[in-house]
């Protein structure tokens, strides 16, 4: 088990992950009945089983009980592994008193395996849905074998209202001091997918969350997409130090140091460049701070614009980043890339014989 180790592998080193699995649901067996961990991998420790039992949903806690509906949950275990669960309805509960049976199939990932999914629970859920199929497993098995998950790059086109909701949420996530219960989003999974692509890796790693599952104090998630049940979420949030975040009516928040990064993410989502944004965000492995993120956003914008910049614009952009210190390796890479692109553009402009344009100095005085 790779617990708490520093991840040294590249995020895209391979797209196949072999990992442990567990199932929490209600099925009768000769010695037990009711909701419990009905099957799990041999390598799960007693403490991990305890934590999974404490945070798994039982009957009445899945918001979408119609066929095809699902919820997800993601949280780190004290062992360092990440538990990502796919929650689905699985017919009627056998006692006929529990309504629709809630079935949660979980992947228990080491930190390095979670990184292969860019620490994005939506990607894990995509892979898990493919691996486990449409029919939830309802047999009490002594042991579950290792499961093979294929990490794939998702498509993440989303309508404007989801993008706007994701923008507001991302801004709130950066400055949150309490847990957030989100209501008023039509497609919370789509919003979560966008949100993850704009969240720096350090933020993704520590965020516990659920979507499509009823807000419960017992689960203690940082971020809960509580569906459209505003009234019940409001009641729970009011009582339990959880801030209710209504994407439909939330007042614009005060300016924060992260605004530039958030606006940059929104532009990327609008332009359909979510995958590229995700590749950038997953390299932001330091604790998120407003200033470096703003600089990186500005640098990315200038990098986009440099290919079509006039000589004057090029000079201005070069001046902006001339003495900019690199806050982290990805920042240094972007600065290098920008200077190469600017040099290339300057050569192109010279080739076009634009004689009146001022000659910018690439790379400062170096």
């Amino acid at each position: 088990m790779d617990c708490g180790s520093t991840v040294a592998t590249s995020p895209d080193a391979t797209n196949v992950v072999h990992t442990s699995q567990a199932i929490f649901t209600s099925i009768p067996s000769p010695i037990s009945r009711g909701y419990r961990l009905v099957a799990c991998g041999a390598d799960l420790s007693a403490q991990e089983k305890r934590e999974i039992t404490q945070r798994s949903p039982s009957h009445g806690n899945l918001l979408a009980v119609e066929p095809g509906g699902f919820g997800l949950l993601s949280y780190s275990l004290s062992s360092g592994r990440q538990c990502v669960g796919l929650t689905r309805p699985a017919g009627a509960e056998h006692t006929a008193r529990g309504g629709s049976r809630v079935h949660t199939h979980m992947a228990i990932l080491s930190p390095s395996d979670f990184l292969r999914f860019h620490c994005d629970p939506c990607r894990v859920i995509d892979a898990l849905r493919t691996a486990v199929g449409d029919e939830p497993l309802l047999k009490p098995l002594a042991r579950l074998p290792i499961i093979e998950l294929h990490a794939v790059v998702p498509t993440a086109d989303a309508p404007a209202e989801i993008i706007e909701a994701a923008r507001r949420l991302l801004a709130a996530l950066f400055v949150r001091t309490t847990r957030l219960a989100v209501v008023g989003i039509a497609d919370s999974f789509a919003a979560l997918r966008l949100l993850m692509s704009g969240a720096p890796l350090a933020l993704r790693r520590r965020l516990s969350l659920s979507s499509g599952i009823r807000l419960s104090q017992a689960r203690k998630f940082d971020l809960v997409f509580a569906g459209s049940e505003r009234v019940s979420a409001e009641r729970a949030a009011d009582k339990r130090e959880i801030k209710l975040f209504d994407c439909g009516s939330e007042a614009p928040s005060a300016a924060t140091p992260f605004d530039r990064w958030v606006a940059f993410c929104k532009r990327r989502w609008m332009d359909g460049r979510t995958a590229a944004l995700d590749r950038l965000s997953v390299r932001l492995d330091q604790e998120p701070r407003g200033d470096p993120l703003s600089r990186i956003a500005s640098l990315c914008d200038d990098l986009d614009a440099v290919a079509s910049a006039s000589a004057a614009q090029l000079a201005e952009r070069l001046r902006r980043h001339r003495d900019e210190p690199a806050s982290m390796p990805v920042h240094a890479d972007l600065l290098r890339e920008f200077r190469v692109a600017a040099e290339s553009r300057r050569s192109a402009l010279e080739g076009e014989n634009v004689e009146d344009a001022p000659r910018p100095a690439v790379g400062g005085d170096r």
Partner: protein, 293 residues
């Protein structure tokens, strides 16, 4: 039992001792309603916590719902005053469902969905003391998970540790049918309590435990002599009680008069329909517990 606290800076939970903000409605750790703490503080005496334990589907919710309703209706000369509207929820849920010939929904494993009841109970016409009773309706799955792996639901341990008495519900119908499951579950439960109350060698546990055989209408002999029923059908439980518990009594109880069954043609789930209620032996275990306090 520990005294409850409401400090100037907040409210300390009666069950788990977690400090909570003064405006909080329920404990952020165990979800117990903090109104219990405030109400108890106003009484200026320690409340008595009575825990009701049992396996999933044994009938804890139905039993507790009817018990509270009977107390409210002054059965057996009891006078019971619910302290706070939340205390009435469970009885209302159970009675309303039964009136519509349905069993109440299963109690969810999530602690914040459990119903809590806080009643002031005394005997009418006697110079008896007033007892503040706190009774949560716990999910059987949570009890089972805690027995399986202690500290999964720490609230169970906290509740039992602070209980003045325990009602242990056992499915008599299953036991009479030859299933060993009720016997093993009850044995586990008592063993768990035994390990909690570590006492000197040979000294028995003083906590009053009322073993209540639910669904006893399936096995009428259980009503005739619950002790003999336990000895014959739940011998492991009987021996454990005999060896380690100083204050144990056995009771038979039933709530449903007759049951119907319903199942769709393509549905493999059979639903039980309570056609009418016929309460028998609901109050006696509670009465015994109160006498032990």
């Amino acid at each position: 039992m520990a005294v409850t606290f409401a400090t100037t800076s907040g409210t300390t939970c009666l069950i788990c001792d977690t400090p909570n903000p003064s405006e909080a409605q329920s404990c952020k750790e165990c979800s117990a309603p903090l109104a219990i703490v405030r109400d108890a503080l106003a009484q200026d005496r320690d409340p008595n916590l009575v825990s009701i334990m049992g396996d999933s589907n044994v009938g804890k919710t139905v039993y507790l719902g009817f018990l509270l309703d009977m107390l409210s209706q002054r059965a057996h000369n009891f006078e019971a005053v619910p302290k706070g509207a939340y205390s009435v929820d469970l009885a209302q849920i159970v009675i309303s469902h039964m009136a519509h010939r349905m069993f109440p929904p299963k109690t969810a494993i999530e602690m914040d969905e459990w119903c809590w009841a806080y009643y002031q109970v005394c005997r009418r016409g006697r110079a008896s003391k007033i007892i503040d009773l706190v009774m949560p309706d716990i999910a059987g799955e949570a009890v089972a998970a805690e027995l399986e792996s202690p500290a999964t639901f720490r609230i169970i341990q906290n509740l039992l540790g602070r209980s003045s008495g325990t009602l242990l519900l056992v499915d008599a119908a299953l036991a009479a049918n030859g299933s060993a499951q009720p016997d093993f579950f009850a044995l586990k439960m008592l063993s768990y309590i035994d390990s909690m109350f570590t006492t000197k060698k040979r000294r028995k546990i003083e906590l009053p435990v009322a073993v209540v055989f639910t669904k006893a209408d399936y096995c009428p002999t259980c009503f005739d002599d619950p002790r003999s029923f336990a000895q014959a059908n739940l011998n492991r439980l009987w021996n454990m009680c005999d060896s380690r518990f100083a204050c144990v009594e056995f009771f038979a109880c039933s709530v449903i008069g007759s049951l119907g069954y319903c199942g769709g043609e393509n549905d493999d789930v059979v639903t039980s329909i309570p056609l009418h209620t016929a309460l028998n032996g609901v109050l006696e275990p509670f009465e015994w517990i109160v006498d032990q306090l």
